[in-house]
Symmetry: C2
Subunit: 365 residues, 2 copies
């Protein structure tokens, strides 16, 4: 099936997604005996010296990779971005306040629906008007004066759009970066809060990275329950209760790998090369491949495209799978095809899938 | 340091705790290539055929091991038992209702504090009156007529007490079984809800098992946020959002191992043998070892004990560690010593630590 090491496949899953092979190899080496402890990391107390080092090094790597100063708190929570959709307004939006949400797809829509339970939501841009095929320009944003915050989804896995420049706003800017964190250089200091489920660019599902700037955090009110108060987790350095220790350890190993590959700038270089190659290939073959997303809004992470017929799309998914290219099917809500290529996917994986698609086109074009 | 396979140690950690070596070995064999997929399980979609099978088999194993009928829902949530402390009253306790809580230690106390945010709490037994050194008798319980539910913590990791027979109550009975689920046979049908963080008897931290009986579940109201409504997770079979896939897979492997070892009856046999051996050793040497917990309430999972002096206790922890016996220190809130021996700990590990303690006693007695 595959000529790759360990009989691995080319993994283009949208999430949970590929983990760098070097990371899996290192974790496997420590599997029965983490750093000479005689235990797997998951068998250790979250209050042990060993885990404490893993935990705090992982926080330090997040801060270093994103160039965050001491004014930022880094948390590892549970429940995914979906839990943050509720926690954010629960902690930061009062009944008499308005939050601005930029609606660029399925996940923004869910975040909006959840925030409406807690206060007023102004949809500053409604992507439905452009079928979510492009992101808003700065001029199009209808922002509220004195908004509690402005929420944006940085990358849209289902529609295949991505922000590279973020909206300029006066209110605190919050981003759900679940699907593109650490994928390109950007000024993180423009954000009051960033959150990201780990299962695309940071490791396994089951841990959510939350970054809070202190001035914004200072405005948090108590949530209805202890575990949904950011205060609970900031006060205890994410150790109020037992955290998902193994998932945090894996995130730390992924971050170490990012550092070794040149940090965020290194990831940007890889990701730009992959995107140029893949979108370029589609543009060179417009009679067979079509990308419906506006060129200026196209995601480097999730490349959505169509073939001349749905029958051909189905055939490409199946033949791709047989040839060791996994995850080519578009999200069930939109159909078509999708190649998700997060940080872990090397340039060679994109070269390989392009070669496969060239052959497919010849056989079917 | 150790003569065990893979240079492993005897792991008596209170949680996160030891995972059966056979489970770790099997997961390691599938590490780069789960069932021929060419991916680690954590790199697969939670909507893939492969994960779907893991997910539903794990649910089936929970039901089979606990003899649960179709009237029970089995959920895999995030956030640990601490999140359940809030979710339970948020979904099942109204402002004008009273819930009965049996306070048998630190975790019960936390559950009570959280429930008080949502409705009235009646402490049906206050373990503070007996310094938490024993559990209540049936006669001592001050139950409320028409209570919304009665909450009990089945095993108390810090104080070292455990229920083997549960209170007889008219209201729906709820148990936090985080630290002793599947450790001895019992009639699970007496419970309207059971919840358990995985990191003692079920696998790694980061997944919480929640079991809900349909008649009780039918009385749930909507929670303040989507992710804290049981309804969200029951409706979607715990796949409303991305679940902690790797942690669920590991739980499934632990459950398979329990089945192979004779199911819950097999675990009971092992655990009874370990407890008899260890408490028996202490009783044979009362001049050196003292267990402050009332004999009828002693936990099979967490054996708390004292030596003649704190200095000796510290020495035993350190010499034990050097000899490959990890986790002998009591919880920081109570001091003393503790041997946690969940399902994963074999009888031979308890024999080994007793032998070590015999030598220690000779050298210091």
């Amino acid at each position: 099936m595959s000529e790759l090491k360990h009989n691995r496949v080319y993994n283009f899953n949208a999430g949970p997604a590929a983990v760098p092979l070097e990371v899996l190899e290192r974790v496997q080496e420590q599997w029965f005996n983490f750093q000479g402890s005689g235990m797997n990391l998951m068998e250790m107390s979250h209050r042990s010296k060993e885990f404490d080092a893993v935990h705090n090094e992982t926080i330090a790597r997040v801060k270093s990779l994103l160039n965050l100063g001491d004014e930022y708190h880094v948390l590892f929570l549970q429940g995914g971005a979906s839990t943050q959709f509720g926690m954010l307004p629960m902690n930061f939006l009062n009944k008499d306040q308005t939050a601005d949400y930029i609606n660029t797809g399925t996940w923004s829509t869910k975040a909006i629906k959840e925030a409406q339970k807690f206060g007023n939501v102004n949809v500053a841009f409604d992507g439905n008007t452009v079928d979510f095929m492009r992101l808003p320009t700065q001029d199009e944003l209808q922002l509220t004066e004195d908004a509690a915050y402005v929420h944006v989804t940085s990358n849209n896995t289902i529609k295949g759009t991505q922000f590279f420049e973020f909206p300029k706003v006066d209110a605190p800017l919050i981003a759900d970066m679940s699907s593109d964190i650490l994928s390109h250089t950007m000024d993180a200091s423009q954000f009051s809060m960033i959150y990201a489920g780990a299962q695309k660019n940071l490791g396994p599902s089951g841990v959510t990275l939350v970054i809070l700037r202190d001035d914004f955090y200072a405005t948090a009110h108590d949530a209805v329950t202890t575990m949904l108060s950011y205060k609970t987790h900031v006060d205890k350095n994410s150790l109020y209760n037992t955290p998902p220790t193994f998932a945090i350890y894996l995130m730390g190993e992924v971050l170490k790998w990012v550092e070794e590959k040149g940090g965020v700038a290194g990831m940007e270089q890889r990701n730009r090369a992959k995107a140029d190659m893949l979108y370029g290939f589609f543009e060179e073959n417009p009679e067979f491949f079509r990308c419906p997303v506006s060129p200026e809004s196209r995601s480097w992470m999730n490349v959505c495209f169509r073939l001349p017929t749905e029958e051909l799309e189905g055939r490409l998914v199946n033949e791709g799978k047989a040839a060791g290219f996994i995850g080519l099917k578009g999200h069930r809500s939109v159909g078509g095809l999708r190649i998700s290529m997060y940080n872990a996917n090397g340039v060679e994986s994109v070269e390989a899938v392009i070669n496969f698609m060239k052959g497919f086109m010849k056989r079917n074009g």
